[in-house]
């Protein structure tokens, strides 16, 4: 998967977690927390959805990498580059 594909996957997860949010204006460099109504339980869902959909295990100490779209994509790129986009 390319960075663009991964970004698309994350958007898909976010739209599933927060169906009422408008994600079209999401700024990649800004933390999700400043732009979306997400709390810590919702953040856990990003981790859990990545596990469920892509079998990626993220240790708790590394959750901080998921703060913004840019940092999430950068963190996941080496882990997902071998995967084929469905």
């Amino acid at each position: 998967m390319t960075a663009t594909d991964i970004r698309g996957e994350i958007l898909d997860i976010l739209s599933d977690i927060a169906p009422d949010e408008d994600l079209t204006g999401l700024v990649d460099d800004k933390p999700f927390r400043e732009q979306l109504e997400l709390d810590s339980m919702d953040f856990l869902d990003i981790v859990m959805e990545l596990r469920k959909r892509h079998r990626i295990q993220i240790p708790e100490a590394e959750y901080t990498h998921l703060a913004s779209m840019a940092s999430t994509v950068a963190y996941l790129e080496p882990r997902m580059k071998e995967m084929v986009k469905k």
């Binding site: 599933d16 927060a18 169906p19 009422d20 949010e21 339980m41 981790v47």
Partner: protein, 465 residues
């Protein structure tokens, strides 16, 4: 090799079902065990002489309107991947706190209560604003701050004792397991739930919510076993490893999540039940149900809920020397919600009255006396209530009554304690590994609260991370 579940959940009430949905959604092998032939626990429903009744639910607190992004209800729906229409809450039309000399109206817009406080307690207007500020700033999960005395904290903010009593009355009624005083944390949570977020009800009652939760749980592959009481929890040293059912069957699991209550769960582990006993709650309820022959509002009973108290001091403890204490009570009409006109009026016109009751005295009554006391207290509750709402008694066409023993039967709580143990276990842990609490004794109360409890304890303890 016996089957190993990822998580076994004890109790198919709201918290157990919500936890089950979360875990099944993330592909766990989950089994919910329910002792009864029906689901819901405290919040259930039944049919009697052709009429549908809810138990527990008067109103769902933590109201949120369709499309709202903030608040516990929308957060909960996101976590369950369910939609607003699965709960379809119609807002209340308006409620009241009625004391002998003063009455405060409130609805789902806090501005009404602000106006009412300013009208009835002009000297407390600014203090009430300070209180609102402190409640908004309160952070849920600090156990030390949580257990501060609400009465003492309120006395530092509000200088008129009557206003304190009036504000406490509905909040204690809808979620206080302690006698006399209330945890400051619980006060703040209940204040938000009732006064800031407000109340609503699905047109079909609690059935709708339960039906949709079960459907969701099963669609995700969850297993629900009814008539499957847990006889004891299987331990390996200080680790829970499964359960034994009443029929002797053993089920093993990596996690056990129990909504049975703190004391009750420890008892299932055969762990020092006597030392644990004083932890059990003392407050139980009776409730009378009166079916009237026309919509309650046409009898002048037009409020969703009236919380009444017949003196300036609000008494919140187990009855001292009688079966019940009807000096304070809750009068509720499921008809008085702003339902969608397409749904029409409810089939039955109902007035429910709740009062505090003494579990042991009800339990110890011989069968004949029990039936007689139900009739006697039906009358006493109505007599007490009609001091605060118009007299509806000549319009009653059917009645029913539930008592603390009914609550005991459906919740398994010691003493029929409606809100469980006075001391909550906010982090949901027990002294045993892999055994966790959810529901009433974890600490979040109300319909949405119970569901949030299930979700957050599942997230915290049972989802492997």
């Amino acid at each position: 090799m016996p089957l190993v579940y990822d998580t076994i959940i004890i109790g198919a009430g709201l918290s157990g079902l919500a936890a089950g949905i979360r875990l099944a959604y993330y592909e766990q092998r989950v089994c919910i065990l329910e002792r009864h032939y029906t689901i819901g626990g405290l919040n259930s429903f039944y049919r009697l002489r052709g009429r549908d009744y809810d138990v527990g639910l008067h109103a769902v607190t933590n109201y949120g309107s369709r499309g709202a992004k903030k608040g516990p209800l929308s957060r909960l729906l996101r976590q369950l991947r369910m939609s607003w229409d699965d709960f379809a809450l119609a807002p209340q039309v308006g409620s009241a706190i009625a004391f002998p000399s003063v009455r405060l109206d409130f609805d789902n817009d806090i501005r009404l209560l602000e106006t009412e406080v300013a009208r009835a307690f002009p000297a407390q207007k600014d203090n009430f604003q300070r209180l609102l500020g402190q409640i908004l700033d309160y952070d849920d999960l600090n156990q030390d701050v949580f257990e501060l005395s609400a009465r003492r904290t309120l006395a530092d903010i509000i200088s008129d004792p009557l206003l304190i009593e009036m504000l406490l009355c509905p909040l204690m009624w809808y979620g206080n397991a302690r006698e006399d005083d209330m945890d400051w944390g619980q006060f703040c949570i209940m204040f938000r739930a009732l006064y800031l977020e407000g109340m609503g009800r699905p047109h079909a009652g609690i059935r709708l919510i339960l039906k949709n939760l079960v459907r969701r749980f099963r669609a995700l592959g969850g297993e629900l076993k009814l008539r499957a009481g847990v006889q004891r929890i299987l331990l390996d040293g200080d680790r829970a490893v499964g359960v034994v059912l009443d029929n002797g069957q053993e089920l093993t699991a990596k996690h056990v999540l129990s909504s049975a209550g703190i004391v009750e769960t420890l008892r299932l582990c055969n762990a020092s039940p006597d030392a644990a006993l004083p932890l059990a709650g003392q407050l139980s309820f009776v409730e009378s149900l009166s079916v009237v022959d026309r919509p309650p509002k046409r009898l002048g009973c037009d409020r969703t809920i009236v919380f009444f108290n017949d003196s300036e001091k609000f008494h919140w403890h187990k009855p001292a020397d009688d079966l019940c204490d009807a000096r304070t009570g809750v009068i509720c009409s499921p008809n008085n919600f702003a339902y969608n006109p397409d749904d029409g009026e409810l089939a039955d016109n109902l007035i429910r009255i709740t009062a505090i009751a003494h579990f042991d005295r009800w339990r110890d009554l011989p069968e004949d006396a029990y039936r007689l006391e139900k009739l006697r207290w039906y009358d006493r509750l109505a007599t007490s209530a009609v001091r605060f709402v118009p007299d509806f008694r000549s319009r009653v066409i059917d009645t029913d009554m539930f008592t603390p023993t009914t609550i005991r039967r459906f919740t398994s709580h010691e003493n029929g304690a409606i809100y469980g143990a006075p001391r909550k276990q906010l982090d949901g842990t027990t002294r045993f590994q892999n055994l966790y609490l959810c529901g009433t004794d974890q600490g979040y109360l109300g319909i949405v609260g119970a569901l949030v409890s299930g979700v957050s304890m599942a997230n915290r303890h049972c989802l492997p991370v």
